[in-house]
Amino acid sequence: MENRVIYTENLTKRFGNFTAVDHISFEVEKGEIFGFLGANGAGKTTAMRMLCGLSHPTSGKGSVAGFDIAREPEKVKQNIGYMSQKFSLYEDLKVWENLRLFGGIYGMKDKKIVSKTNEILQELGLEKERETLVKSLPLGWKQKLSFSVSIFHEPKVVFLDEPTGGVDPVTRRQFWELIYQAAERGITVFVTTHYMDEAEYCDRVSIMVDGKIEALDSPKNLRQQFGATTMDDVFQQLARKATRKAD
């Protein structure tokens, strides 16, 4: 039980007569890198919003970081990290001020914020940029800083929504190393991406089609199961079956 960081059972969300998320059930373990794939409109964002405590399920249940997503959404929010492609950093604040702000929001002690700030700037090689305004950082650095901010309060799980969109190929790979490091420290990583090579870097991958999870396994097993050489093949086989006209 302790190792189960995300758990859902028949989790469902309806908008009127449209079932955006249709009875999804899965579990993610501590320290696991879990890839959450699907075509646009398959229901990924809606599912992710429920898991982050931002949207109330219509039916079914789920827990994240040990808290019930329907009954304790505020607790869920306090115990997760979140990063999207649109970085949530404040452009007009300096690098250290951003870390200070997010640490404060999550109720961290001042001392802890100071030591953790030094630690992170050293890890990222950003010590010299401590006093730099975030808006003048290169995109790749912003992205790495944004990820560090999302796990600054050492959440049990971090949700990454297309974190690598638009960045150059070298930076994209460096970013995945940060993800590995976080996972090695025991942080569970829940990530969406449209880069199918990145699906390979996950421990397990689920693929959503029309609101349902149609496949869930390690990339290697999925490739075998679908007789495919790449995850892109697997994805194309599944997503082409989609009947939703929404996208």
Binding site: N40, P169, T171, Q236, A246
Partner: protein, 306 residues
């Protein structure tokens, strides 16, 4: 036949140099890809070529017309789909299309054949407001609106960003059909796998072209032998490949690592090196580089993945 040319374009925003001495020439009927990450200067280049922004220096022509002097005529003959959704959110799908047709003194009926493939997919929703459409439908509507006046040159700025692999494939199939109708297409993308679908590509980073050629030639010019390496324990493998003294570069590529070796090293040596570290299922295979391999090699960033 040259559809578009640019010579030594420079543009800076304050102290930021967005484009540096950029030149290009696009032939009629070509699909020309501008491939590079965010912040490389793709949108600045598009805005200059579509007469929406003045370069600090340099010249450019579209269909023989000068982007500064003849901007009014250029605007009549080009279609432009910006990266950011720029249609009228409060107008319906059909109203948007009618609006763009009317502005260009034409009608939907007159050029329906051009957009039919694309538009018929969103036609069932023609009474829906554009702001209420999903991402993929917005993209199709924006492309229809950019095409309705039958442009000779079509500019598409990151049309597939944030779009899933299946929809991206469909979008490129649509572009191929447009090309077959003789429309010249300039398209930018951060997805390196789309590069091979273009006739020619320019790899762009930090406001400069790293290389311009056909995707096939760019791949053929890759100067090293590239090996795909696989073994048990892929996470650990990354670190060990990095520590391996005779490896030149190593990048993760989905289910394998793409590795180049120092001149005198052999794949047999690498296999021994890994076997000694007690890896099993070691597979080392020579492969053809992808455009992404080429981009990383040409990229000025001091990084070889080690």
């Amino acid at each position: 036949m040259v559809a578009l040319s640019a010579n030594n374009l420079n543009k800076s925003y304050g102290t930021v140099q967005a484009l540096t001495d950029l030149s290009l020439e696009v032939q009629k009927g070509e699909i020309y890809g501008i491939i590079g990450p965010d912040g490389a200067g793709k949108t600045t280049l598009f805005r200059i070529l579509t007469t929406l922004l003045l370069a600090d220096s340099g010249t450019a022509t579209v269909d023989g017309l000068d982007v500064v002097k003849d901007y009014k005529q250029i605007r009549k003959i080009i279609g432009y789909m910006p990266g950011k959704f720029s249609l009228y959110q409060d107008l319906t799908v059909e109203e948007n299309l009618t609006f763009f047709a009317t502005v260009f003194h034409t009608t939907i009926e007159e050029n329906y054949h051009l957009i039919e493939d694309i538009y018929k997919q969103i036609e069932p929703f023609k009474d829906r407001r554009a702001g209420k459409l999903s991402g993929g439908m917005k993209q199709k509507l924006a492309l229809s609106c950019a095409l309705i006046h039958k442009p000779t040159v079509l500019f598409l700025d990151e049309p597939t960003t944030g779009v899933d692999p299946v929809s991206r494939k469909e979008f490129w199939e649509m572009l191929m059909r447009l090309k077959s109708q003789g429309i010249t297409i300039i398209v930018s993308t951060p997805y390196m796998d789309e590069a091979t679908l273009c006739d020619r590509i320019a790899l762009i980073q930090d406001g400069e072209f790293l290389k311009v050629d056909t995707p096939q030639n760019i791949i053929a010019d890759y100067p090293h032998t590239l090996w795909a390496v696989q073994a048990s324990q892929m996470h650990q493998l990354l670190k060990d490949l990095r520590d391996c003294p005779f490896i030149q570069s190593s990048f993760s590529f989905g289910e394998t690592f793409h590795v180049t070796l120092n001149n005198d090293a052999t794949p047999g040596q690498l296999k021994d090196f890994l076997a000694e570290k007690s890896y099993s299922d070691i597979a080392i295979q020579e492969i053809e580089p992808t455009v992404e391999d080429c981009f990383m090699l040409l990229s000025k960033k001091e990084n070889n993945g080690k």
